[in-house]
């Protein structure tokens, strides 16, 4: 698999979050006029895995669907991915210091230690240290 898409509310803000807070790298950033930009990023050590930071545009969805989708994203409906860390506490402290919002601090569960954080749009990710 080469591409996955994450709906974001604002591409400029998402760019800042994914690059400056999560440390992702920009793979492609192509301006497409008034329809936003084609913006893909990847985790630092996974250059072959592109995440499309996709605006919820009215050219892709009807106005009604776009508004509904924006509301669902912003209220944290969608869990969109899982990060694994070799040292979850260090990652947690670093992301927190950078202003990332955690809805669950690292906690030991039967399957490992897990935390949950949100991106700037409201999409949430699990951060886990397995084992």
């Amino acid at each position: 698999m080469t591409h996955v898409s994450i709906h974001v509310l604002n591409q400029d803000s998402a760019f800042d979050f994914y690059t400056n807070k999560l440390g992702f790298k920009v793979i492609t950033d192509v301006p497409m006029g008034e329809d936003g930009r084609w913006l893909t990023v990847c985790p630092p050590d996974q250059p072959g895995f592109e995440i499309i930071l996709s605006p919820i545009s009215k050219s892709m969805y009807s106005s009604e669907t776009a508004e509904m989708l924006k509301e669902l994203v912003s209220k944290g409906t969608f869990g969109v991915g899982l990060f694994t860390s070799k040292d979850i506490f260090a990652t947690y402290e670093e992301l927190k210091a950078k202003g990332v919002e955690f809805t669950k601090p690292p906690r030991k569960e039967f399957y490992g230690t897990e935390a949950i954080f949100k991106d700037d749009s409201g999409n949430w990710f699990s951060l886990a240290q397995l084992g």
């Binding site: 329809d35 084609w38 499309i52 210091a97």
Partner: protein
């Protein structure tokens, strides 16, 4: 309850703060002894803990950050010499040598590749976008991108 699961919270914070200090001050002259002092560690203990968490010594990490920032600046098509000094190197030769060792090509060649890439993006943006997404976004019908369809 949280504290019981998280006994090394202060230790983690000190190491993380040292890492963030490097992230924020990579362009300046950074004395790693000073960071260890500020984190209240002996130099040896600090380097050992830093490497355990981040997989690199603080010095290796500083170099990696500088090279990564250099890559970003070169992608925005800034001249090699400007980039060299902007990211904290004091000599062009040491910058070029380290860059080539880590990235595999010289900074000037990397810049030339990025200039070429930018030209291609400006000329035919749609060639960088999977067709299904371009169509769904209505970009294939956009007259501003007629050249890309030719």
């Amino acid at each position: 309850m949280f504290a019981e699961q998280y006994p090394n919270i202060y230790l983690y914070r000190r190491i993380v703060q040292a890492k963030l200090f490097i992230d924020n001050n990579y362009a300046d002259t950074i004395e790693l002894d000073n960071i260890a002092d500020e984190a209240y560690f002996s130099k040896f203990h600090f380097i050992r803990l830093f490497k355990r968490i981040y997989g690199k010594t603080p010095h290796q990490y500083l170099i990696a950050v500088r090279i990564e920032k250099a890559l970003q600046l070169l992608r925005s098509l800034q001249p090699v010499s400007d980039v060299c000094y902007s990211v904290g190197f004091e000599s062009l030769s040491s910058f070029s040598g380290l860059f080539k060792r880590i990235v595999g090509i010289s900074p000037s060649l990397y810049l030339a590749q990025q200039q070429q890439l930018q030209k291609q993006i400006n000329k035919a943006p749609l060639t960088f976008i999977p067709g299904c997404f371009a169509e769904k976004n209505g970009w294939l019908k956009n007259s501003n991108f007629e050249e890309a369809k030719a």
